[in-house]
Symmetry: C2
Subunit: 250 residues, 2 copies
């Protein structure tokens, strides 16, 4: 109960049925016909709960399942020998994680909040490809989308200054939150990331993250605190994310 490692618990109550899945249009089975969804559901092994601060898997593990994240935030990252950490991606509801083709995973995954995941056994995926090739095409598309995100992140890390990078990251997460919550625009958003996690994502130190966020607060672009954030001026935030070394005044 306390070994600090994979702690998936089977979700006993309320196993959501695939045919009524609210995020299906984001996930692997978007291409599947309605009448096939109960068939899809047979592929699903289980719904799981993963507590906050627990690892879903660790780099180099051979993971036997793929997962669709149903609720919560998961952080994908890699560690360096000297203890540095690079956050690769934040997975939000609808994102697809885990094993790809039986190869050991190339990153670790940690739950930032408590999460609900739908698991699909890896060994059935190839069978699935053979029977329904449009699923294969969808998976290729998902990987393509992940790659696009990865490329955008690379620009943040490689070419932008600290403030640009953080602004870009906030805009990106903001848009993705809007997309899955469909909440009104200038709403306070649930934002469970610590400054250390932001730092390891943007490739800067947590001290500097603190200063940058203070700067954004002082500029009236956002309010934050208590694991929440409110973007007050999305336009300005987008401008900051794309402007190179434009200091403040118009």
């Amino acid at each position: 109960m306390k070994n600090g490692y994979t702690q998936l618990r089977v979700r006993t109550e309320k196993q959501t049925a695939c045919y009524q899945c609210p995020i299906r249009n984001l996930a692997l089975f978007e291409a599947v016909d309605k009448e096939l969804l109960d068939w899809t559901q047979k592929f699903r092994s289980q719904q799981y709960i993963l507590d906050a601060r627990r690892l879903l898997y660790r780099e180099d593990d051979t993971v036997s399942e793929s997962y669709t994240l149903f609720t919560g935030w998961i952080m994908l990252f890699k560690m360096l020998p000297d203890g540095k950490r690079q956050v690769l991606r934040f997975a939000l509801p609808g994102d697809f994680l885990g094993s790809r083709g039986g190869v050991p995973v190339n990153h670790s995954a940690l739950a930032i909040t408590e999460c609900v995941l739908c698991g699909f056994p890896q060994d059935k995926l190839n069978q699935l490809f053979a029977e329904r090739s449009e699923i294969a095409a969808t998976l290729v598309g998902i990987q393509q989308r992940d790659m696009t995100q990865c490329y955008n992140h690379m620009i943040n890390v490689g070419q932008r200054s600290a403030i640009e990078s953080i602004a870009g990251m906030l805009i990106d997460l903001y848009d993705r939150c809007i997309e899955c919550h469909r909440t009104a625009r200038p709403e306070t958003i649930w934002f469970p990331l610590s400054q250390e996690e932001i730092a390891d994502y943007a490739g800067i130190t947590l001290v500097h993250v603190s200063r940058v966020i203070k700067e954004l607060r002082d500029q009236g672009v956002l309010e934050n605190g208590h694991r929440k954030i409110r973007i007050l001026d999305t336009g300005e935030l987008r401008r900051i994310a794309n402007a190179s070394t434009q200091t403040g005044a118009e």
Copy 2:
């Protein structure tokens, strides 16, 4: 002839046959049985030549073919509005490029040297998936491998100092060159990258690249010049790539 944009020329002489392709084990059709290779070859639309310094495609283009790089080096990159450039990856022979599922491409591709490419029409790929699902699995695996590379690059850019980052990059390219040339170890390698391209890959300035490479030369780790490089001490280079702020002396 001089519009600076996609300038694929059909390769008229010596169209290499798939069944005798020397790099097939690296590429998309590694899973295909020998007796099916002439069938595979029917999917191939054409072998092309792309001159050095020409774009294969540009970000947001809808590309109708996928390519296996047969000869040469190609640089994948993204531009920012202010003219900054982030190099995402260097493609070497055997790498798979281009369209994925009819979506506009998320990056641009430029030939660093003259290249030979094998083209596969995109619209036939889905058909291919349906007929031979192991090809789909292979493509998923290729994308997975690309993603792994991308993640490793992210660590270079995000967490490592300039000298670590460049050392890591050289080791990586060195290993990949060895892999496709199978040349003896301490060999001078064909290395066509300019310092500006290295800079845009590692996320630092070309001036600083020059200083770092001079530092590596002075340490006796490598010799270079004339678009060639010779790694004299791979062990030391690997050490530099992984050590955090270890200055020089053991």
